[in-house]
């Protein structure tokens, strides 16, 4: 009897069920707080035609960028991309469909999707290319555009600690999009630095509750830094 024990032993089990053409929501900001091992597993599985929803798309040889190499991504919904040359090439050649979305709108699309809200109105993007084809409605004399929320067959997130029940705690700014992504997946997989027993995490300090999480795996993280800047 597994009960609420969400822990899986290997990456194959963690990503079991991911199929060609699915929508995959990923947490992370740049290379910070990304589920490195789960992304590597998707590369190994060679799952194709994926729609990926993530703030960014990694770099050439790390993060979601490694899925570009084998053209596993059909479409990306992101706020800021192009930190890698393969991305640039595929976007220009038209083999990769890019839907640029304002960062706050993207976060809210995931949050709303996970919360059962199909759409919302926001002033963000009104009067810009982002508003094209979208419903406009005025509230208190100000125009807002309607944005539809996002859910996916899979969500992959990175957390600092998990208990066996899938309660998650993030560390520092590695939190970013992970909590919203975790709510928006039909199957949510969390790759974490440490797994503890139920009761070891303070119930008041859980960031993502286990009800949103289906599988937990302990990963080994490289935690690559995109821009190391220091003061003397």
């Amino acid at each position: 009897m597994a009960g609420f024990d969400k822990v899986v032993d290997n990456y194959e089990q963690a990503m079991q069920g991911l199929q060609d053409g699915m929508t995959l929501i990923a947490g992370g900001f740049g290379l910070c707080g990304i589920p490195e091992g789960l992304i590597a597993e998707i590369k190994r599985m060679n799952t194709r035609e994926l729609t990926v929803v993530s703030n960014n798309c990694g770099v050439d040889d790390f993060g979601l960028g490694i899925l570009l190499e084998g053209q596993q991504i059909k479409k990306i919904i992101a706020s800021y991309v192009g930190e890698n040359s393969i991305f640039e090439k595929q976007a220009i050649e038209g083999t990769l469909d890019v839907e640029l979305t304002p960062q706050g709108t993207l976060a809210e699309k995931m949050r709303a999707g996970g919360a059962g809200i199909p759409a919302f109105y926001t002033a963000t993007g009104f009067g810009t290319p982002v508003a094209e084809g979208k419903e406009v409605r005025e509230f208190d004399g100000r125009p807002y555009i309607m944005e539809e929320s996002i859910t996916g067959e899979f969500a992959i997130v990175k957390a600092w600690k998990a208990d066996r029940y899938g309660n998650l705690v993030y560390r520092d700014t590695a939190m970013n999009f992970n909590p919203m992504a975790a709510t928006a997946g039909k199957i949510t997989v969390a790759e974490v630095e440490e797994i503890v027993e139920p009761g070891e995490l303070d119930p008041c300090h859980i960031h993502t509750q286990g009800i949103f999480v289906d599988r937990v795996i302990k990963g080994n993280f490289e935690k690559r830094i995109e821009r190391r800047v220091t003061r003397s």
Binding site: Q103, G125, P129, Y170, M180
Partner: protein, 218 residues
């Protein structure tokens, strides 16, 4: 003389008030953090989820889990808070951030701003800029008054795809401080040694010039 990047940042820092929550964009806006007056406290918001952003870390302090919105390693000040992206944009979109400072390609006399996309060039995305301009109570734009060819970036109507509409309140350029209201640029201050004529000549949009235009204190 037109202002240096540092001088633009110094002039922007004079817009800060005690108790302000401030979001600084990439480039010149980032430099503003170096010139916060000693007698006030401001809290810097970084849209990836940090309220109370501190200086860059020392070599020993570098932590892959602590970055700013430009993906640079960073530290947090005492009393900082860390949160998720949805909460971060609740602060921004919800109008809780007192001041946003960001760069632009063009601004027009309606307060429209274009800062993210040049057709024909690779578009990397708007990041959080559209949310910031839609939500901040106060937006200050920093940029050069004209481009390298001498063409004005202060227009009657933006030519590039917009980031936001009717949102820019104040502009600090290398030549002047201007306020945007009632469909015109209102000249408030000029850079030391820069003539009103030069500003007029480099402003393509409607410019309202008062009788006396003081020099900036930078």
């Amino acid at each position: 003389m037109s202002l240096s990047r540092e001088q633009i940042a110094i002039r922007v820092s004079q817009e800060l008030k005690d108790g302000y929550y401030v979001n600084l964009g990439i480039g010149i806006p980032t430099l503003v953090a170096n010139y916060v007056p000693d007698d006030i406290e401001v809290m810097l918001q970084s849209e990836n989820g940090l309220l109370g952003m501190g200086p860059y870390p020392t070599e020993e302090e570098v932590d892959a889990d602590m970055i700013n919105a430009g993906k640079e390693t960073v530290t947090a000040v005492t009393g900082a808070a860390i949160f998720n992206s949805a909460d971060s944009f609740a602060m921004i979109r919800g109008g809780h951030v007192d001041l946003t400072v960001l760069g632009a390609f063009e601004v027009d006399q309606q307060g429209n701003i274009a800062s993210w996309m040049i057709p024909g060039k690779l578009v990397k995305g708007m990041g959080g800029a559209m949310d910031l301009v839609a939500g901040a109570k106060n937006i200050v734009v920093t940029m050069t008054h004209a481009n390298k060819k001498g063409e004005s970036k202060m227009l009657s109507e933006c030519t590039l795809p917009l980031t936001g509409v009717n949102c820019v309140k104040k502009i600090v350029t290398d030549l002047a401080v201007l306020e945007v209201k009632d469909g015109a640029f209102h000249l408030l201050e000029r850079a030391p040694g820069v003539s009103v004529d030069e500003i007029q000549q480099k402003t393509a949009g409607k410019l309202v010039v008062p009788e006396f235009v003081p020099e900036m204190n930078v």
